[in-house]
Amino acid sequence: MTIDSPGTNTESMAMSADTAGVAGVTRSRTTTILGAVVLAGAALWLFLAFGATDPDVRIVDGNEIGQFDAVRLMYVHVPAAITAYLAFFVTSVGSAMVLFKKSVWWDLVAGSSAEIGAVSAALALITGSIWGKPIWNTWWEWGDVRLLTTLVLFMMSLGYLAVRRLEGTAEERAKRSAIVGLLLIFNVILVNRSVEWWADSTIHQQSTIADAKIEDLKAFTLYYSILLGAAAYAWMLIHRFRLAWLERQYDRFGIDDAIVRRRAEGHTHSEGISS
């Protein structure tokens, strides 16, 4: 990098002074369009979830049974859970690509995806718990396999994110986290198998959609919310990837960049005195 070129100087000066210019730094045309689609989709999502769909009520032997309005929690719980699993799957794939192809791009994608996955998994657990209180009459159900698997996966993702933050060169950190990230998927399978065996049976809603227990519009809303979750995930992932890129730049060149900025300041300062 040439320190004395006037272009660099003015750029550095503008950079330190103007923070408004960096506000939308992770934005691009793609994310603007995608973001607009997601936000418009979210409006329809809210309308479907609260306006268009009916509560879940069935009449059996003259008695009203079902989840009533608590079913509306499913339109946020199910997409959160599926997005979490999608995100961790991407992390594992990305980790494999880091190990086999040494790809910087996949390293950043894997880390970004895991962070979004951890947020989604936390939301899936929280909303599931809130739904479970009125429907299963408990905040936490130890007999449920998917619940326990998701919880352990969430814990594992915290471990993965902790490993990503460890010190070391970019290369060391990438390889270390790639091994942990690749193991995520195998760990999940092992935990799922063992918990399923352990709990013997599950009380989780067994694919309510497939049984056609849910009528058309509710099923559509559920599928739609899953799709919206995937779109929102893609949107977040692009932004988070660009942040991960900035983090990498800062880690690698942060000190050099600071020196360049500092020299540029001194340069203009001394010029000011001499003139």
Partner: protein
């Protein structure tokens, strides 16, 4: 040197260090016994409860002790020039990994046996199927040793190792805790589950982690 000679060399080195320092015997095993006693206080010395939950409390204690043992196993390599020495020795990464696993498993076995005496005495646990007990114990300790060595090597001499290792390792060991508890429940006659099936799961877990450790240790050795 054959693979087995190399493994024996590394395992022998770690066990010789243990033989001189006696960290597992004089520090980790007493810690584990202490936890067993404290569980007794926490559960209000309820004889029936302690007897019923002896398998679970036992394995929870083994996992806690294994965290310490993994730290110790990594710390041995963190000494001055130890890593360079290992790299210069020209030993295959796979045999270094397996040697570390063997040494860790041997130390965990010491702790596990001391603890077994602990639960027999303090929790009045009784053994109805000794063969199942020993087989499942060995499988579980192999799994803990394989996963522990892998994640321990991953963290290396990181300053944050002490805090990151538990959150990394314990969720991974959840299947071992479940399977070993069930197998011990059968062997101690507190549950009616089929302990041999759970023992199979323990050996499958150990095999998967050994395979991963062997494959990834080369990458880890050249880096950390």
């Amino acid at each position: 040197m054959t693979l087995f000679e190399e493994i024996a060399l590394i395992a022998g080195k770690d066990l010789r260090i243990e033989g001189r320092s006696k960290v597992a015997l004089n520090q980790i095993a007493p810690f584990a016994l202490l936890v067993i006693v404290l569980f007794g206080f926490a559960l209000d010395a309820d004889r029936v409860a302690l007897q019923t939950f002896a398998p679970g409390l036992y394995w929870m204690t083994v996992l806690l002790a294994s965290i310490l043992a993994v730290h110790r196993s990594v710390a041995v390599e963190a000494g001055e020039g130890a890593r360079e020495g290992l790299l210069l020795s020209g030993l295959r990464p796979a045999s270094v990994y397996l040697g570390k696993v063997v040494a860790l498993v041997a130390q965990l076995l010491i702790v596990a046996i001391v603890l077994l005496g602990g639960v027999l005495i303090f929790y009045s646990a009784s053994i109805s199927d000794p063969v199942l007990l020993v087989t499942s114990l060995l499988g579980a300790v192999l799994g803990v040793g394989a996963a522990g060595t892998l994640y321990g090597a991953l963290l290396g001499s990181q300053r944050a190792r002490e805090t990151v290792l538990p959150i990394l390792l314990l969720p991974v060991l959840a299947p071992v805790l479940i399977a070993a508890t069930r197998a011990f429940g059968d062997a101690m006659g507190t549950t009616t589950s089929d302990g041999w099936q759970w023992t199979q799961l323990l050996y499958a877990f150990a095999a998967i982690y050994c395979a991963f450790g062997v494959l990834s240790h080369g990458v880890l050795m050249e880096e950390n």
